[in-house]
Assembly symmetry: C2
Homo-oligomer: 219 residues x 2
């Protein structure tokens, strides 16, 4: 078997520089990890992320000290990671993970303009559950006041994608160990109604559509 | 009442203080996000994590500047997050995510003792794919030399779990919107053999067992 065919068309790990590849990740994975320095020490925490054009939106409670630090303009790094499978190589050394990994850097803009803030929150809601927004009442002033909204400009970022086959040296390829890939993705189960749901309220279209697309490999 | 609905009767978001709850998360989610300060700025990157008793293990290439910074003893924060579903509330404000979120703090020990280093790498391999280790040749000296292994003592950590129903106020509960939960988990597909796999090598027991357990809700 030739070198070319063993590698197929994919290189095991590759930096990507196309904005479209970054956007594809940011538009499918909505959990990000924010890094910020607090009291001279690094802190990492997860939060929902959603892209709005050239900015990555996050939001949180005004009661969160870490979020307030981000809103105050502390430099941040935000990682968005898709876990796509296990690379089962013929050695522990070559065994690895299929992933898409974006790391963004910069300083978040604290969104205080009322119209933009409402727009950003709508974007986040729509990213997490497409079509849900039109099924909901608008946010109240009190809710808006309790929410911090921040936007990181998508300017400084790196993207790495690992999507290849095990890259074993010839001695290992000639050996007895199985090698391959176990694909992974996020599955969603049937929607479960809240115990206090009023009898007779059916699952709404956004949730129904989401459920129908569940368990599909999103790549 | 099913086991699942019993689990969902927990309050919406709760800090947990039991080490057993932390260990349950660290023993099921093997992607972590490491935060470290580099050139006075925060950096976050994903990496595999595995628990070994009272320490959380990570490893990386000696060629990675960020990993070297961690190995050099820079303070770190490591977040380990399980994504368990969407909380579909009757307002955008109350809509949220089911998650388990651990954040650990401290300074990693750079593991240089040969026996401990080999032990740690074995732990990582076994955590990601249980039973795989015995199917593989041991690491070579060259492979060990190219690998940084670090251990964060599990001493300073916080754990938050969101696993409850939507927490809508009475006015919203009385309204027309559907509310509930869409559970989520990681699914694994059928193992795919590498193109250069020698004909006749069957899927090995570790991979077979992993595949048989795929798509099951890991919680």
């Amino acid at each position: 078997m030739t070198e070319q065919s063993t590698r197929l068309t994919r290189i095991p790990e590759k930096a990507r520089f196309e904005r479209a590849d970054l956007d594809q990740l940011l538009d499918t994975v909505h959990i990000g990890h924010v890094g910020v320095i607090v009291d001279d020490l690094p802190v990492v925490f997860p939060t929902a992320v959603a892209r709005d054009g050239d900015r990555l939106l996050i939001h949180g409670s005004t009661g969160s000290p870490w979020m307030r630090r981000v809103a105050d303009g502390a430099p941040v790094s935000i990682a968005v990671t898709g876990f796509d499978g296990l690379v089962v190589a013929r050695s522990a050394f070559e065994s690895s993970i299929h992933y898409r990994s974006a790391v963004l850097f910069g300083t978040c803009q604290h969104i205080t303009d009322a119209a933009d803030k409402a727009h950003c929150l709508d974007q986040i809601t729509g990213a997490l559950l497409p079509g849900r927004l039109v099924e909901l009442r608008p946010p109240t002033k009190k809710e808006l006041a309790a929410t911090l909204v921040m936007a990181l400009p998508i300017e400084r970022w790196s993207l790495k994608v690992s999507a290849g086959w095990p890259d074993d040296p010839p001695d290992d390829v000639a050996g007895p160990a199985w090698a391959g890939v176990i694909p992974a993705w996020i599955s969603y189960g049937d929607p479960i109604a809240a115990p206090d749901l009023t009898a007779g309220i059916a699952v709404t279209p956004s949730v129904q559509r989401f459920a129908e697309n569940r368990s599909s490999d999103p790549r």
